[in-house]
Amino acid sequence: MARIGVFICHCGTNIAATVDVEKVAEAAKSMPGVAYARDYKYMCSEPGQAMIKEAIEEHNLDRIVIGSCSPRMHETTFRKMLKGTKINPYLLEIANLREQCAWVHTDKAKATEKAINLVQMAVAKVANNKPLTTSTIPITKRALVIGGGIAGIQAALDIADAGYDVTIVEKEPTIGGHMVMLDKTFPTMDCSACISTPKMVDAGAHPNITLKTSCEVEKVDGYIGNFEVTIKEKAKYVNHDLCTGCGLCQTKCPTKVTSEFNQGMSKRSAIYIPFAQAVPSKPVIDPQACLKLTKDKCGICEKICPIGAINYQDEVKYTTEQYGAIVVATGYELVDWKQMYPEYGGGKYEDVITGLQFERLVNASGPTEGHIVRPSDGKEPKDVVIVKCVGSRDPKKGKTYCSRACCMYSAKHAHQILDKIPNSRVYIFYMDVRTPGKGYEEFYDNTRKDGAQYIRGRVSKIYKEGSKLIVKGEDSLIGRPVTVEADMVILATAMEAAPGVEEVVSKLGISMDKDRWVQEAHPKLRPVETQSAGIFLCGTCQGPKDIPDTVSQAGAAASKVIGILNHDEMETSPMISHVDQTKCAGCGYCVECCPYKAISLVEVPGRDGNRKVTKTVAQVNEGLCQGCGCCTATCRTGCIDLRGFTNDQILKEVDALCL
């Protein structure tokens, strides 16, 4: 028989004013298993705690119930208190006599009756509690950053500066992401490359950072502190250990294909360094374009390479490494507007370009060396139309959300056109102008003063007559249809999560929202955490944002990672699921419903009569389980149970309540 101690707190008069605490304590004495019961002014106070400890010794109690405020308030306090006694901290239950009884009722007799019942429930439950011990898991003091854009670079630098090893996995041949493609950044108009390339170099040269370019995450196992990650390195066909980055190969390569970096507006060779400031500044071969790899012809680069770094036999390589924490920074891509908007020509007019293409056009290192010209005929445009919300805020054809950065970069584009092309005219079709940011509204003001014409209305159709692009919109402020005969149209296309984010998310066991953005644990209070402990996110993988927000999020994610890596080991909650493998039939339904991928099916030796057989049963990974208990209600056998909230405990609570 258990020896339960029941302690009823007055909480000053908070409880005692509405509940007859003496009566409750008295009633508790006759409850099954109760060896001792009393009331006291403040149980949570030092004398209160000392009194409980004394009672435990004096009455040889083996578990206790405290009738006090909500367990959300003082459960940890009392558990800590029990650590100094012979009673396991988990042999404790709290009856919520304050928030859910005394404070919400007025009739003292009825409130007292309810309080007795609540204590009864707690007593019934605690009698079935089992001692639980927290276990600790060691922490691997290394971090993995997935994505080498500005978010990933910043997070990696911050973690590395704190003294921990970081690996950046980037699927492209260089780090840098989208920011390095941009020309100027709003609202300060500083050169994007000038501020981002030094960070790329820092990341490349940092002793604690390992760059893994042309790499992808293949598989993720384990849990916080102990992730085991398999990284797939695509074939580069160039031995980067030997290559000096002299670039001779790309000057001699005869095959030219469109450049991704220049958004299709220039050519690059089949063996290529994506752009001059790439990190690492070493070439890779594009296997789809290379003549040697596709048709077994050419082979010039191999012949010409002074140190023999070319290797046409290169293959995909896999490496497996351990990490304590992971940062997801997979970034964004622009939506494919050509599929969405046939009424804007669906891509058949060369002079209808995206904002990112314009960034390359206006960039001194871009295909036109910074001259704004029409891609179709190389002429300088005089009348330019900028269309905002292409794919954003369009539930039918595109995305429901606002892409956040377009209002500002469109204002910047207008400013740049008006600045660079004398006598040019810029018309910006908008639905709303959104400039919430430091210095943003002022920038928009200045663009209007520069002469940009803002026309409130969405464009319905863009088509070509002669050399002009006819843009049909409505000026909704005057309520008339308007037409602009333009030389060039820039579409501010929506951002969406980068392609392939689905695979990353499913490998990591985290989730995406309805718009494919990676889901944060809480939009306000846990903005850089994911549902899975030890996995963090930053930048545009979480939602559209501009550079300042991305960089600050990266810093926040890094500090969360450092917070974990600072410890040698961490405690895990013992209130998690466990499987009675003798009863488990291995149906795997618990595996499917677990939001943390904490349950897996394993093969264990078993017996079938006298025969030794291999049984398939479920097993809970203690590092991953967060203790929600969803699995327990899925299990028909009831062989998976949640410690601290076992079937037995809850059934006893139900029984006690119905007495």
Partner: protein, 322 residues
């Protein structure tokens, strides 16, 4: 060959002479038999659904109901975009709204199952059997003719009614026209409205719609515009001269029914498809193409004949009647 229930619509029997003639020519050449719906009535057009929704459905549904009764199992084909739209609406409502279907059935005093599919002429000419038959009978190559295919609104929109997957840039007619060797040009007014429904009652507002269509066709290098609807066709053809006069334009873009070009490619004479019955002179443009094509064919045939003297002589182009 597959059989179809035929709903010609009122215009096919009056103003759409060239459409009727050219279609009949094609049908007779390829052995296509259309079963006209007995005692069909007007679909109600734009006017009915402006006035009374139930009447609009009922008038169209009567034709479907008769077809289902008298010509069971056949798809219903109509040459007119407006009739197509109205019949298709009635059929859509019948298929998707049981209460309305019953109500329509009640007022019709006929069974209206809404099971027969409603097709337009472009759908009909997409029938692979018909396409094959046409290909076999092609006698002329209209190479060099730049055609702007004009679909209008009702054939493509609303997409849940028409089933058109790309209402901004449909391609059915383009594909059919290219059978003739002519080039279907890319242009931007394929599905812009021609304002036919308001050309009579609000001409002061609606004429500019016609002008814009010609302007874009011209800007994109069209020699001719091709339609698949009696109303679009008449609206553009009949008013081109007036537009030239009143808007100060010099458009020289005859407007054909797509069936006319196919008929010509199959060897029809100008009289066979009523080229002389156009409002806007259309003979010269088509004659030019036919002549060039004939010369080229003759040259090719000659070259071929040299190689193989037993081969048939050159194809003689029928003398255009007028």
């Amino acid at each position: 060959m597959k059989q179809y229930a035929y709903y010609p619509g009122c215009s096919m029997d009056s103003t759409a002479v060239t459409y009727k003639k050219s279609f009949e020519y094609i049908a007779s050449k390829i052995g296509l038999v259309m079963k006209e719906i007995p005692d069909w009535n007007c679909c109600g057009s734009t006017a009915a659904h402006t006035k009374n929704e139930k009447m609009a459905y009922a008038l169209s549904a009567r034709n479907i109901a008769i077809a289902e009764e008298e010509l069971p199992g056949l798809d219903i084909v109509t040459p007119c975009a407006s009739c197509y739209s109205r019949l298709k609406y009635a059929s859509y409502v019948g298929k998707n709204d049981e209460a309305k279907r019953q109500e329509i059935e009640e007022v019709l005093r006929r069974s209206f199952k809404a099971e027969a599919e409603v097709l337009n002429f472009l759908d009909l000419f997409e029938d692979p059997e018909i396409q094959e038959a046409i290909k076999e009978k092609l006698h002329r190559n209209l190479e060099g003719l730049n055609v702007a295919c004009y679909y209008g609104c009702l054939m493509s929109r609303p997409r849940e009614i028409t089933g058109e997957t790309d209402p901004e840039n449909p391609m059915k007619m383009d594909e059919i026209i290219e059978l003739t060797g002519a080039k279907a040009i890319a242009w931007d007014y394929k599905t812009e409205c021609c304002g036919a429904s308001h050309q009579v009652d609000a001409p002061e507002h609606a004429r500019e719609l016609i002008d814009r269509i010609f302007r874009n066709a011209q800007a994109n290098g069209a020699d001719v515009i091709v339609t698949a609807c009696p109303l679009c066709n008449m609206n553009l053809d009949m008013r081109e001269a007036e537009i030239n006069k009143n808007f100060g334009r010099k458009y020289n873009i005859p407007v054909f029914q797509f069936t006319e070009l196919i008929a010509i490619a199959m060897g029809a004479s100008a009289a066979d498809c009523g080229i002389h019955q156009h409002f806007f002179p259309a003979f010269d443009v088509i004659n030019e193409v036919v002549k060039t094509g004939a010369k080229k064919a003759a040259a090719e045939a000659k070259a071929e004949a040299k190689k193989d003297p037993l081969k048939d002589g050159p194809i003689v182009v029928g003398k255009a009647g007028r």
